[in-house]
Symmetry: C2
Subunit: 304 residues, 2 copies
Amino acid sequence: MSLVVVGSVAFDSVRGPHGCVDRMLGGSATYFSIAASYFTSVRVVGVVGDDFADEHHSVLLTRGVCTQGLERVAGKTFFWAGEYSANMNERETLDTQLNVFATFQPKLPPHYRQAPFLFLGNIDPELQFAVAHQMESPVLIAGDTMNFWIEGKRAELIRTLSKIHALIINDSEARQLSGEYNLLKAGRAIQSMGPETIVIKRGDNGATMLQGQEIFSVPALPLEEVYDPTGAGDSFAGGFMGYLASHGSNNGGLTHAKFRRAIIYGSVMGSFAVEKFGVDRLLHLTREDIDARLHEFQRLMHFE
Amino acid sequence: MSLVVVGSVAFDSVRGPHGCVDRMLGGSATYFSIAASYFTSVRVVGVVGDDFADEHHSVLLTRGVCTQGLERVAGKTFFWAGEYSANMNERETLDTQLNVFATFQPKLPPHYRQAPFLFLGNIDPELQFAVAHQMESPVLIAGDTMNFWIEGKRAELIRTLSKIHALIINDSEARQLSGEYNLLKAGRAIQSMGPETIVIKRGDNGATMLQGQEIFSVPALPLEEVYDPTGAGDSFAGGFMGYLASHGSNNGGLTHAKFRRAIIYGSVMGSFAVEKFGVDRLLHLTREDIDARLHEFQRLMHFE
């Protein structure tokens, strides 16, 4: 079933111990769309400037992503530059230029509004709320957020949380949003704000999902080389939502077991994302590669 | 089969957000012995002072631990005091008094030397080497160490590593010992120093085991309340080694699958240890409690 994502489409410059890449295609909606495209049909909502060339557009098109909701306006595309530490465990933002993203007002083409699955990438919670409100018969709405909105637009964020079914955030954001250091307490506190399902991304420590009273935890796949962690969390969300959309139906059918498997597919897509710079690794996968890595997770976690 | 442990027996004073407890029974060999005692017969080697009363001794005896190798000498028992931060994620040592432990020379009673399983707790690697050397026909020798020995007695530690089959250490120690930040690379580097099996304890992020080319990772059980993390790692080691000793045989029989299950039993015992101050929770378990928690881990990690 079709899956709509709203978020940033950007150019990223990344420096790290494995090299530097300038102005490569990035942004939360880009990573999400490409990761999810291996599972279901994806429709992106975003904004780009007039520096967004056909070669960039075609990256999304070759993955079958519908770009009818990708608005092009005069000006420059959102630009981000960052540098990773020698151990890849810290990231410093060197530059952020919102450009055309500063005045982004998501516009959903009419056929997008009928999509049963929606992912609200990390944008202003007021815009997230407006997009969620436009959906006609959503089966599952999930969202992400970040420290900037938790600090600056808390009330608006909490209003958005009351509209979504699942929140996918990292551990430090879960702590900040809830005021609880303990992740189980943090997850429970966020559940009480609305979403029944809380997915806490823990970087190279894996992920934990709370759904109702159920708890599911997975370790990360140990990787010897991490080239570029940018977009890993968005790729995780793409694998997670893409898998769910491929198994959902209008009248539900999303069992807890499917959410557990979706966490593994999210982890799989996140693990691929970091193996090369930008979306390079994500673009050159087969469904066999993805399922082979799912089996690696099974082997990693299996005991008798 | 019987399991010998050499390590510290101590009094600990612990402060934290859930309260303070003065001079309670602690030490690596104490936590290890009690945790392992639910699986197999345990023989402890250590030293205590004349302040070690019958009430302390009887804690070990009631768990069926053989204390023939627990030497009593004039002076005071090893004392440690520490304080946990409000989030329980940092620990500050307030006081360390080695006392009789400063001149500890482990002496193994003759019947200890025939034990097939040995755990070398975190003591001077020269003493660890000497103890390992005294064993007549060991099936499995595992050890622990810490930053103090990695920095101060590196050559001696590396000699000890050449004698042991498994090293059980925490993530920061694995990084320090190997010089590698990436835990997979760190584990591989330590394997090349001798031990085929490396167990990396990651606190509330779980544990990862490398055994030959196999990798097994488990998340930690999410707990809402952690009262006292002191001894969690030693309790983990006790559950791990205790389970293996209960399933080992003189001619081997320790399959990789048994090591995976041992990691779960280690995680189970570590999760119990932190639920009350000191050894209090560990002392009042049944085998049913332990297996119920093993099922919690199965549920936590299960996917289809």
